[in-house]
Amino acid sequence: MCSQTLLKISKVSKSFGATKALKAVDFDLLKGEIHALAGENGAGKSTLMNIIDGILQPDSGDIYINEEKVTISSPAEAQKLGIGFVHQEIALCPDISVAENIFMAQTNASKSLLMNYSNLHDRAREVFAKLSPIDPATMVRELSISNQQLVEIAKALTLDCQILILDEPTAALTEKEAQILFGIMKSLAATGISIIYISHRMVEIFDNCDRVSVFRDGAHITTDFVKDITPDDVVNSMVGRVITDLYPPKQTTEEKSEEIIFEACNYNETSWFRDISFALKKGEILGFSGLIGAGRSEIAKGICGLEGDVTGELKLDNVTLSINSYQDSIANGIVYLSEDRKGDGVFLDMSIAANISALDVDRVSTSAGFIDKDQELSQARELGDRLNLKRGHITHSVSSLSGGNQQKVAIAKMLSIKPRIIFLDEPTRGVDVGAKSEIHKILRDLSREGVGIIVISSELPELIGLCDRVLVIREGTIGGEVTGDAMTEENIMHLASIAQSDPILMQTAQGGRA
């Protein structure tokens, strides 16, 4: 590998009001390398990427590409310099077809007067042949979040770029798609394209990247070759202390109880799932695993009365409940944490405090129905501190927080009502290692206190590390269950894809690994 420096960041600083997001940061990217970027939530990773892509302007500092000083005033400018960017937050045009979304940048740069739709569709189909089967003619608004994430990736892959930035692209992806992506990344790097890869998952970094830079509190801490260090070193420099146990201890045999606190029987939904029955025992954390589109989210939403045309029977502490709406569900203490934080998890332009009390405002109000501001603020501070929320003023809007911290606000909202059963759909998406282990610890504590915890996650190590038992969902039914030592990635993947019949996916998945 030649070690020519393609991109060099020198002493870049950026503040948002009183928040210093970046403090005189240095960073360099070599030609053809996959360079990982790690750091806690709010460390400034996305901010730096936004500066490189011309979305934000630095307050001070310089950027060099091929040793030449550049000013990048807009994404259009960045494109001309050969920079491609997959954003942490999905930004696609919902009313436009997948194909047009993917080639939006080309359309923009194109000199031809007229659109050539069939050409776009053919090329889009080619891209997806490598990635995952998505029909290029569908409107983006009809896709699930994970498929939208794939479209985002496809969009970046088609750019004719020399620097590709991927900001937590795998947060919404399952193992399978992630592996495909890594395959593609490696082949791109082999052709001399440099990749900046942001992730909170150490395994991904150590399996796929060449170097890793660590950021903390807006400052650059270290850059090392991954072969020279261990994941613990990275976590150490990220958090500034040693995190010994990434996952909290599981249920011990003594703690095991046969008492069933929550039971779902014969759940069916007209199009998304059928014959779903499971029980949750006291003190255990249950996981849901499966491939993209398997229907995990739909099951959770269906049970909570949020979506779908659902039939089934529900028992909480052996009492049969009838849940017709999410309000009934909340009234019984059953809540759902959405996987789509920005879309339906938080109120971006409202204050942190108002976000946290949204699930049940009556908790922070007087008997006459008026909000007690002090109570609302102290509830928010308390939960925020408990989740280690990195924030400005508690009345600032959620839009001023980094992605991971927004996720913490969404979780704080769930905890505010002291729920009985929580469905957490991708609860640690975009959350840093430190906070993630905090969240895991909190979940474990809650389950000890008797709260039922059901975690949906696309990250297999998380499910294996956290859960006591994992149900594998396959095409809308429960495809199997693993527990104890049988909880391995291989077993889960096997159960998840056993009936997987899509030839394209199988073929490319194998090709990607080869």
């Binding site: 339906d344 998890g345 332009d349 508690i394």
Partner: protein, 335 residues
């Protein structure tokens, strides 16, 4: 440890007097009060008649009843909706109550019926929006046209003369308690009540959640459709109340009343800081918005500005007010 210290610091800072003062200074309401004050000072130099009791009364009477509609519109805009039909609904309320009165119905009963009818119209609009799934803009546009027609039909195109309304009823619109007109007292009570409710009540907080992110609100267990439905009904009900007060004030029900009221009312609410995207806004701001617009109109009339220039100046003031406010807010965000 350092965590606790840190949050202790933060607490102290949040409670601080200076920070509170700074927050007040950065508020949109403060900006509006300053603009209005500046206008008052300039006007009292420009015209000796400006700071007279008669002129103040005339100016207050000009916006008081419309202010009640502004309250309804403000809530609706916060919920993420909009209502172009307010002018027609106000007129419908006047015309229906007036017509019933002429048919021999007691004016109080007639008024109650008219207000309920307006609420029902709001419910119909709310139904179209929440159950059918249409957009507020287009639904209320259709209702604006339909109810203008209904008003014409009821009145056969001519203003209803309601001179025979009993004095106790006219008192609402024309009487005074002490030196202060009843209309202004009513306006004041409604504004203060709703300002408080919107800031503090849990019920109205749900309007903010719904307007800010309807889906997130639904995922927080809020019956967002109900919230939107009720906000629509509230706005129409306020129109109904305003209509009845107008009837008492004018002893008349002209079918062509309130033309263009919707734009004035929406402009006021937006000047007052509400976003057309929903989720933000205050009653106080909206009322200051309507006061600003009204004071400008009145000042121009008082100064005998050529009518050709009045529109130009009024439009420019609207523009300048939003630009000014925009920069104020930007500065606030930056500091």
């Amino acid at each position: 440890m350092s965590n606790a210290v840190d949050s202790g610091h933060r607490l102290a800072h949040e409670m601080g007097f200076i920070s509170r003062l700074r927050r007040i200074a950065a508020m949109r309401e403060t900006a509006l009060v300053l603009i209005i004050l500046a206008l008052f000072i300039a006007m009292s130099f420009a015209s000796p008649y400006f700071l007279t009791w008669l002129n103040m009364r005339a100016m207050a009477m000009a916006f008081a009843v419309e202010g009640i509609v502004v309250v309804g519109m403000c809530v609706l805009l916060i919920s993420g909706g909009i209502d172009l039909s307010v002018g027609s609904i106000v007129t419908f309320s006047m015309v229906l109550a007036g017509w019933l009165f002429l048919q021999g119905v007691d004016p109080w009963t007639a008024s109650a019926i008219a207000i309920v009818a307006c609420a029902a119209v709001g419910a119909a609009m709310g139904y179209c929006v929440t159950k059918i799934g249409l957009h507020h803009f287009i639904v209320s546009l259709a209702f604006m046209v339909i109810f203008r027609g209904v008003c014409l039909l009821i009145t056969q195109g001519r203003p209803l003369g309601l001179f025979t309304l009993p004095a106790e009823f006219k008192f609402i619109g024309q009487g005074s308690i002490g030196a202060i007109p009843v209309v202004i007292i009513l306006f004041f009570v409604i504004v203060v009540a709703f300002d408080f409710l919107l800031r503090r009540s849990t019920v109205f907080r749900k309007v903010f959640y719904t307007g800010s992110n309807e889906k997130a609100a639904a995922y927080s267990g809020i019956r967002t459709k109900k919230v939107i439905f009720l906000s629509t009904v509230l706005c129409s009900t306020m129109c109904g109340i305003a209509g009845v007060i107008y009837m008492a004030r004018f002893s008349s029900a002209p079918p062509y009343f309130g033309l263009g009221m919707e734009l004035n009312v929406i402009a006021a609410v937006v000047i007052g800081g509400a976003s057309l995207q929903g989720g933000t806004g205050t009653i106080l701001g909206a009322i200051l918005g309507v006061i600003l617009l009204s004071v400008v109109t009145s000042s121009l009339a008082l100064l005998d500005v050529s009518s050709y220039w009045q529109d130009i100046i009024r439009g420019s003031i609207l523009l300048i007010a939003v630009i000014f406010d925009h920069y104020m807010n930007k500065k606030k965000a930056a500091s």
